[in-house]
């Protein structure tokens, strides 16, 4: 009896009830999710059904048109959902890293916070500077949204489930995402603001520099798979039973690091270095327009997760689990994992300086990825001599991992940043008046 009293006192009863109800809720969600997922296991059947339904009542072109409109709506609604949920996830997770609560007032667990933010942003005044180039100032917030959505096209969600099944998938994503560069420059230049101009020049220089390592890392993906189609790349990884990220870790690292520079995420977000250029290229944009810029940054982070998943992490395959769980759920799960990694990076790392970033791109990443590309080309030549890749591909993968570690160490030892600089950067005036005498005992930071 005393035991009963101890366990089921007023507040404790509520505590246990809460725990049990959460457990029951999770169980119901898992069971319902299983049946739901079995019902919607292959979404391509639905699209095929719609296509056939329209085809019976009209001609082929109209059916094609209708199904592409439905696909576009699907992609855009997914991106919209990502923008809403992603901003909530990012703020909550960052809050967990910084040991605070995060948004938890609007709706359950603060889930409605993004919607409240969107309504607030809409009600804010949109200022246009008097001396700005009015037409050019209007274009960027609208135009920067298009690449962020169009680049989702060739992403393979599941077998037979991608919006654009084209043979030049990688080149298409590369081309579409490059459109961001001139748009950012338009935004900075048309603001007629010193900070915006400087910020956009820096951003464009950095994005342009990091596009080359990205293309070199994608070349090594193309040379081993022999295709640029995303679905075929995923299938290649499954038939050879190796993840490309394991086979060429340096390409994965290059692609990931350089892409964080492309999308202005935190180790490399010098586009908005507050202490130097206030807010970078979108300094003059306010209200909904600034909101669109921020939304695009968030959407691009999730897009990077999807690209890394399909190119390097074997897409919708996960050790046979894809037979029980819908493949697109696995794909989204991997994407979200990469996105959480990005949030983790944001919470952990400080911002790199611009000169560090540029030096790293041109003096380390580009030469080393060319070496990496050659090594992989030689390995592909050797692999093609044999009928089946078999155990050899794992030996090469192990070799590549050690090569990756060795290249970084050796390259940073031999070609340190200052090696080929024609003149040493020194504070001239301080040297002339003897200020460097006092600095002799101090070790240089560089």
């Amino acid at each position: 009896m005393s035991f009963f009293n101890q366990v089921f006192k007023g507040p404790q009863l509520a505590y246990y009830f809460k725990k049990i109800s959460i457990a029951v809720f999770i169980f119901i969600v898992i069971v319902a999710g299983y049946f739901f997922s079995q019902l919607f296991f292959d979404l391509s059947k639905f699209s095929q059904f719609i296509f056939d339904f329209v085809l019976q009542r009209s001609n082929y072109n109209f059916a094609y048109f209708t199904s592409s409109i439905i696909g576009a709506l699907g992609i855009i609604s997914f991106v919209g959902l990502v923008l809403l949920v992603g901003s909530w996830v990012e703020r909550r997770v960052i809050a967990k890293f910084q040991i605070r609560v995060g948004p938890n007032r609007v709706g359950p667990f603060g889930l409605l916070q993004p919607i409240a933010d969107a309504i607030k942003l809409m009600q804010k005044e949109v200022l246009v500077p008097a001396i700005a180039d009015k037409t050019l100032f209007l274009i960027p917030p609208v135009a920067i949204f298009l690449p962020a959505i169009l680049a989702w096209g060739p992403i393979p969600w599941a077998p037979n489930m991608s919006y654009l099944n084209i043979n030049v998938g990688i080149l298409y994503v590369f081309a579409v995402s490059s459109l961001t560069v001139p748009i950012i420059f338009f935004a900075g230049w048309s603001s007629m603001n010193h900070y915006a101009l400087l910020g956009s020049m820096r951003t464009v220089a950095m994005m342009v520099s990091y596009e080359i390592p990205i293309s070199l890392s994608l070349l090594s993906v193309a040379i081993i798979t022999g295709t640029l189609n995303f679905s075929e790349i995923v299938l290649w990884q499954s038939t050879n039973s190796i993840w490309l990220g394991l086979f060429m870790p340096f390409s994965l690292f290059t692609f990931f690091f350089a892409s964080t520079a492309e999308i202005n995420r935190t180790p490399n977000d010098i586009a908005e270095a507050e202490s130097e250029i206030v807010a970078g290229y979108h300094i003059e944009y306010s209200g909904m327009k600034a909101g669109l810029f921020m939304a695009v940054e968030l959407g691009n982070a999730v897009l990077l997760g999807a690209l890394v998943t399909s190119l390097f992490l074997n897409g919708w395959f996960l050790f046979g689990i894809e037979k029980f769980v819908p493949p697109y759920i696995i794909f989204i799960g991997k994407t979200v994992a990469i996105y959480l990694l990005l949030i983790w990076l944001r919470a952990t790392f400080p911002r790199f300086r611009l000169d560090q970033l540029m030096n790293f791109a041109w003096k380390t990443l580009i030469p080393v990825s060319i070496i990496n590309f050659f090594v992989i080309a030689i390995e592909v030549t050797i692999l093609n001599q044999f009928q089946s890749t078999g155990i050899l591909i794992y030996i090469f993968a192990l070799f590549n991992i050690f090569l990756f570690l060795g290249l970084i160490v050796v390259w940073s030892k031999i070609f340190s940043v200052d090696k080929f600089q024609p003149e040493k950067i020194q504070p001239k005036f301080a040297g002339e008046i003897g200020g460097l005498e006092a600095m002799k005992g101090v070790k240089s930071v560089d």
Binding site: S68, E125, V126, P141, L150, I212, A222, G226, V380
Partner: protein, 124 residues
């Protein structure tokens, strides 16, 4: 003609998605226009410069180092676009093509080493 049409109709979904996305963004901006306050004060339309009245136009000269990077970028980006078709058909072309492509990349690497030596890559 027929094959060209087939190729173009592959990219029709891109156009459709672009149009729908454009309308989505445009409706957000229209909503902002309808909901947001709208003032015509002259002071508010000044460009931002840390609270001061802006000095000079921002339409100024830009440092030469940006152009170095732009030129190098064009060279290497075109290089990458040349290599992509080769990389896709690498297995079919055989090992001889590897030697030709290495000569091509080696020439570009000499260019990169020259730019490095001249100090075009050091951010000052």
């Amino acid at each position: 003609m027929d094959s060209v049409e087939k190729l173009l109709i592959q990219y029709l979904p891109v156009l459709i998605a672009a149009v729908i996305a454009f309308f989505l963004v445009f409706s957000a901006l229209i909503g902002s226009r309808l909901l947001a306050p709208f003032s015509i004060e002259k002071q508010k339309a000044d460009t931002y410069e840390c609270g001061m009245i802006p000095i000079r136009s921002a339409n100024t000269n830009i440092g030469i180092r940006f152009y170095f990077y732009a030129i190098l970028f064009v060279i290497f980006d075109v290089e990458a676009l040349f290599i992509f078709p080769w990389a896709v058909s690498f297995i079919a072309l055989g090992p001889e093509s590897f030697i030709f492509m290495s000569i091509f990349i080696f020439i570009l690497l000499i260019g990169l080493a020259y730019a490095w030596k001249k100090g075009a890559l050091s951010w000052r």
